[in-house]
Every structure is written in structure tokens, then in C-alpha cells.
Amino acid sequence: MKKVLGITLVLVTCVLLGVSAQGAKEQVVKPLEFSVFYSDNATLPFKDTWLTVTEIQKRTGVKVNWEIIPIADYKTKVSLALNTGTNAPDVILYQSTKGENAALALNGAIVPISDYPEWTPHFNARVKEFGLENDVDLLKLKDGKRYYMPALFDVPFYDGGLILREDLLKKYNLPVPKTFDDLYRVLKEFKRHAPDSYPLTILAGPRVLYRMTMPSWGVSLGKNGASGTNTLSWDYDKKQYFAGAISEEYKSYITFFRKLYAEGLLDPEMAEPIDGDRWTQKLATGKAMASYAYYDQIGGVEANSTIPGFKLQMYPALAGPAGAHHQEKSRTGGGVMFPIKTSRRADFEQLVRAVDEMFFSEENAKLWCLGVEGVTYTVQNGKIVFADEFVNAKEGIYKSMQVKHGTGSDVTQMVWVNAREMTKYDDNYARINAEVEAMGDVIRYIPPTPKFDDKQAEEAGSLQTPLHDAWERWNSAFLTGAKSIDRDWNAYVQEMKNLGIDRFLELYNSNL
């Protein structure tokens, strides 16, 4: 017994000595520790052993307690934490002040981080570097304060769009489509050669098709409409909203797609849920030859196809009546938010400064994107060269590195430099992106959110859902021909007016 005690004592002393010798620096300042809400995605499960996660804590000397919450529950969890104030973490990632958060912010549940610019030097520097002063200014609420630090993009990506069979274009001697009328001719030709097919198929419900094509008509409506209003659209010249759902622009849009549907060029199987496998099979077996989808899905389809010479290619946005545009994108994204409770911590300033450095400093921005130099990549003659295991990975550099090390996760990466991102993709993708960038304003900004107080927000919210429901119903009926666009259009407009689309529009335009 004595012996055991003796050995233990010696061991403990050794450990203590070792610690104090090694950790002399940390002993002086108590290491900063805080908790973070992280939105976890099933396709990219969080690991606290990720190189990015361990490295960032090592670099900043901060201990982060990650609370991993499945993305499906995230909104509820965050809402609950902010509403009650209890159990709130110190930092919440992947947040903006759209929707309920705006009301929570105005009612004092969230730290107005724009009040402390001197504590966020790295964030300020990136905003200036990317020229995002205006975009960031637009995130201010009715009281003139901004309540989160958004993710920042220097140039928006063209990550999805029209994808079609390049081999068939060549085989039938068709020119690359530049306009939607070209696309119609291409689909018509595809259908002529394969009468059983529906040339243009739909991924995950029509919302993907709508959000990527509507901007070329000057509208953006539905579940994924750019403004989040479902039935209003933004006039980029007049800089105000208009009732997109009952506009001539939309009428022309739905007339075009009705034509595709009626002639069997558009896949009628479009009710959600559509699973990705069925979509892949349709394209891979030649039952469909085109779709609106994302670039990183091409590989999966090609791998599944046994058709000789099968080749899918992504094309820049097609021109419609309002020019060639793609789904609108913000140059700011979801970012870091502090619940009001955090500001009562004695080390609040230190915490904000640490968060600013973790996510927005030049060095750490590189870490979240590329990993650690010497481990995941090396720089040779000024060019980034990734480790062989990623270059040779079947699923590509971007995905393999993301899963293994947590780079490029849109929850933790706050600084997105297009040129740097492109090093993770193939040359073809970089070429398409360069082409789209050269076309000018293909990807326009997301319309500004009006500055509602919570009463106005409630009124707008109560008008929004019935209008959206009605639009979805009519849109579907126009598309499938259950209602005639020529004969029933006025009845549709009347119904939307009865549901208060004018009042809805007025609420938005008078609070910009």
C-alpha cells in the first residue's frame, strides 16, 4: 500500500513538474474556452479530430466545446436557445438575421456585433479587401445595427446550371445553346431521336429548375426564390420589389415551360420527393439528356452510365427575355452570431477577438479552405499542389479533403476566394467559371431584406403563406395544362389580389 502510494506521489509530481515546465506560458493567462453550435450535415459528418478543428485550437490557444446539432433540428435548437436565453452557447455558427432572428435581435436577444468594430479587425479587413462594404451594410436591421458576422465571398460561384449531353450535341450536329430558344430546339431534336424520352428532367422537384432559370426572365419565385418572399421579385433597375407572381414576365416564363411540357420535352415526374438515384438513372440510361443541376453531380451520373461516349457538360447561363442570368447569390452567407448572454462574460472582448481571428484572419481563412501547408498541400512555384491522396481520390480533391479534414465546410469557412477555391476543382470547372465571370452580371445580388419590426413581420408572414400556396397550385396547373394560361390568367391574378399581394408588396417596398 505504501509502495503504491509512493509511486503514485512520484508520478503525480513528475506530471505536475512536466506540465508546469511545458505550459509556463499558458499558466499566465487562463486559456479561453467557449461553446459553439455547429450545424451538422449528414453528407459531411463533423469530427472533432479534423485537422482544421484541432489546428485552429492549437493556433489560437482556445478550447472550443463543439455542440453538434443535425441540420434538420438546427433552426429549432437555435430558436429555442435564443428565445429562452438559457442553454444558449457562446457562439452560434451558420446564422443570419433573416426571419425570426431579426425579431429576436430587435428584442435584445443577440449581440449587435457592429457596435464593436475595433474588436473585429480581421473581419473588417476582409470586407474592405473584397469591396463588400455595401453588402455588409445591407445586413443592418431597422435599428441600424448588424447582428452577425457573415461569411464573405469575393466572387460568387457558378456551381450549377444547365447540364446536358455534350456527346449528343456533337452527334446530331447541334450548336451549343446560348438562349432558351436554342435549348428548345436542342430538346426537340433529342426528342425526335428518342421519342420515348423526356429530354429535360428535374432534380429534387421543380424548385431547382425554377431558381436557376427564372432570373433570365427577370423573376424569381417559389420555394427558392431569391428574395425569400415566394411571390415577389426584385426590379434590378428600379431597385424595388414588384409582384413577380402576377407579372407579364412570369406569364412569359410559364408559357415557355408549358410549351416544353406539352410537347413532352420536360419530365412530368416532378413532385417531391424525387430521389437522386432515380434522377441519375434517367440521365445515365438516356431516358433524359439534360437537367438543371450541380457540377459535382456530373461525375456520379457518368460513372453510372454504360452508354459509349457518354459525356455530360455544364453550360453558362442561357439568355431569356431579361438577358442571361443565373440564380441570384449573395456575396455574404450565414455566419457567426453571439447570443446576448455572451456579452455578460468578463472575457467578452477576448472572445470576440479570438473568433475574429479564428475565422477571418488571412492565415486561418487559408486553413479552413486548404488545410495545413505541408500536410494537405504544398506550394510549388507559387502554385498550390495538393497531397497525392486527394489528387488521386475518386470523389475529387474538394470532397475527399472535406470529409477527411473538414476543409470547405460552409459552416466554418467564412472567407471564400474564388481563385483559391478553383484550385480544388478540375480545369473544366474553372474554365466555365471564368466564362461566366466574363459574361458580366450573370449572377446578381440577392434582393435586400426589408427592415420590419416584429408587428410588420407578423403581418407579412401571415400574407406570405397563403399567397405562396396559391401560386404553387396555379403554377403547377398552368404547367400541366390543368388551367389555361390564356383563359384563366385573369382569374389567377384576381385570386392573388384577393389574398393581398398588393398589401404584401407595399409592406416590402415601404420598409426597404
Binding site: 420527393p273 432515380r278 403563406t465 400556396d469 404553387e472 397550385r473 396547373a477
Partner: protein, 286 residues
């Protein structure tokens, strides 16, 4: 031991009742869970004046009643038939196979359904096209099929499960009743009608009253998953409406008001059917 279920009911069934106060108060985010000011019947008036609510109300009732008419008798008939089976292994096998679907998650059931009924790859449409030369029907997206799909899935999923309750009731019938009936010369069919059914009548009535009480609460996930804009005219029920207007838009007071309203309708339905049941058959839950 009794304290655990008591605590469960207290915590999860009775305490939340107080949350109903939110139906009469304005909820403002971040300013307390019980709302900030009294607004009287403001939120009730809002949905009473909303045609979408009444459409949802009608859809809920129609779907529920249809479901009740079809799916209430089926488990009873099934249980009685199963009781008459004399080959024990066969009986057990049927029972197991029929109640298994109860344990499959709704999401999976709807995914299977989507596979079976898909117009491009679904087996049903492939048979229709290749064997009968008919055109493919997009079952999931057409309003006229929605109710029957919903009811059929319920039959498939719950018949075996609900039948267990009736089977248990049948097992409890004293054997001497059947003996006496046999001595009096009753055939097997007559035994079912004059012994089995009257003996399980109390169980049937209790189940009926409970089902009537649940008329306004349908299988929410199933409807939500089957909902498409094209079938919304018949598939939008109270729960999905509350989900879209109340929860998706964080309009908690409004959602509470509708919830309270359907709760009250439920209480009225239960007590009136209980009253009728006592009058007619002498059986009741209370």
C-alpha cells in the same frame, strides 16, 4: 411504480395545457414564452376568416371520416377471421406478417410508395403500360388519388396492429359461451354473430369513441410527405396548414390558436359520441 406514468402525464400532457394561453396573447420572439400582451380572439378571428383554414378543416374531416369508415371495420373483421383459423403456425405467421408494417417509419413507407407508383420506374405503371398497354398515371401528384393512397397505406400499416386489441378481447371470451351455443345448435357463423361480436362490443365501442376523438388529428407526417401543389386542394389538412403558417413562419400564437380550436372540436366529438354510445349500446368510456 405508478409514479412514473403519473409523472409522464403530468409533465407531458397536463403542464403543456398552460401553453394554450399563448392563443390569446401576442408572442414576440425573445420576450418570454407566454407572450407579451393580451389580444383576445385576434388569432382565432384570423383563421376563422381564412378560406384556406376552412378548406383544410373540410379536408381533415373528409379524410378522417373516410379513413374511419374504411379502416375501422377492417381490423375487426380481420381479427375475427384470424380467430377462426385452426392451423396455429399459419395463424401466427399471418399475425406477425400483418403487424410488421406498423414498425416501418412513415418516411420509409412513403419512399417505398414513391418507388412503386413512379410514372417512369414504378412497378405499377410498368405493368399498366407493358401488360395492359395503358398510359402511365402519376398517382402521387394527382388530387383524385390522394385520399385512396392515404387510406390504403393506413390499411396496410395498421390492420395487423389494431387487430391485436380485438384478438385479445376475443381470447378473453369464456369458452363456456361457445359450448352453450354449440349445444343449442349454433353454426360457426352464428357463433360469430351471437357470441363473438356481442362479447367484444365494449372494446369496439371504446375504440370507436377514441377514434372519433382523434378525427382532427390525422397522420401528419404521412400527409406532409404526400403533399404536392397539385393535390393540395384535398391534401392540405389542419396540421399541415399549421405547420406551414405557424411553425415554418414562427407564428406561434397563430399555431396555438388553431391547435386549441382543434382540441376543443376533439373534446366535443368525444363527448358526443360517448353520449350517443351510452344511449344506444349502454357502453361508454366514462
Amino acid at each position: 411504480m405508478l409514479i412514473i406514468p403519473l409523472l409522464y402525464f403530468l409533465l407531458f400532457k397536463y403542464v403543456p395545457l398552460f401553453g394554450n394561453v399563448l392563443a390569446f396573447r401576442r408572442y414576440r420572439p425573445g420576450m418570454g414564452p407566454f407572450g407579451t400582451e393580451w389580444v383576445g380572439l385576434h388569432y382565432f378571428q384570423r383563421f376563422w376568416g381564412d378560406p384556406a383554414f376552412w378548406r383544410a378543416f373540410r379536408n381533415t374531416l373528409v379524410l378522417s371520416l373516410l379513413n374511419l369508415v374504411v379502416n375501422f371495420p377492417i381490423p375487426i373483421v380481420f381479427a375475427i377471421l384470424l380467430n377462426e383459423v385452426r392451423i396455429l403456425p399459419f395463424k401466427k405467421a399471418v399475425q406477425t406478417v400483418s403487424y410488421m408494417p406498423r414498425f416501418i417509419s412513415t418516411v420509409v413507407v412513403i419512399a417505398i410508395l414513391g418507388e412503386l407508383l413512379s410514372p417512369s420506374t414504378g412497378i405499377v405503371n410498368i405493368i399498366r403500360m407493358n401488360v395492359f398497354g395503358q398510359k402511365a398515371i402519376y398517382f402521387i401528384n394527382e388530387a383524385k388519388y390522394f385520399r385512396w393512397i392515404y387510406i390504403f397505406v393506413d390499411t396496410w400499416q395498421y390492420t395487423g396492429w389494431t387487430a391485436i386489441i380485438y384478438l385479445a378481447a376475443i381470447t378473453a371470451i369464456p369458452a363456456d359461451l361457445y359450448e352453450a351455443a354449440t349445444i343449442d345448435g349454433a353454426t360457426r357463423i352464428q357463433q360469430i354473430f351471437y357470441v363473438t361480436i356481442p362479447s367484444i362490443m365494449p372494446t369496439i365501442m371504446v375504440m370507436l369513441i377514441l377514434n372519433v376523438g382523434r378525427l382532427l388529428s390525422l397522420g401528419f407526417e404521412k400527409v406532409l410527405l404526400l403533399y404536392t401543389p397539385d393535390n393540395s386542394m384535398v391534401s392540405d389538412i389542419i396540421d399541415t396548414l399549421v405547420y406551414r403558417t405557424g411553425l415554418a413562419n414562427q407564428n406561434y400564437s397563430y399555431a396555438t390558436a388553431i391547435g386549441l380550436f382543434s382540441g376543443i372540436i376533439g373534446v366535443i366529438l368525444v363527448s358526443s359520441s360517448n353520449f350517443l354510445s351510452r344511449k344506444i349500446t349502454g357502453e361508454g368510456v366514462y
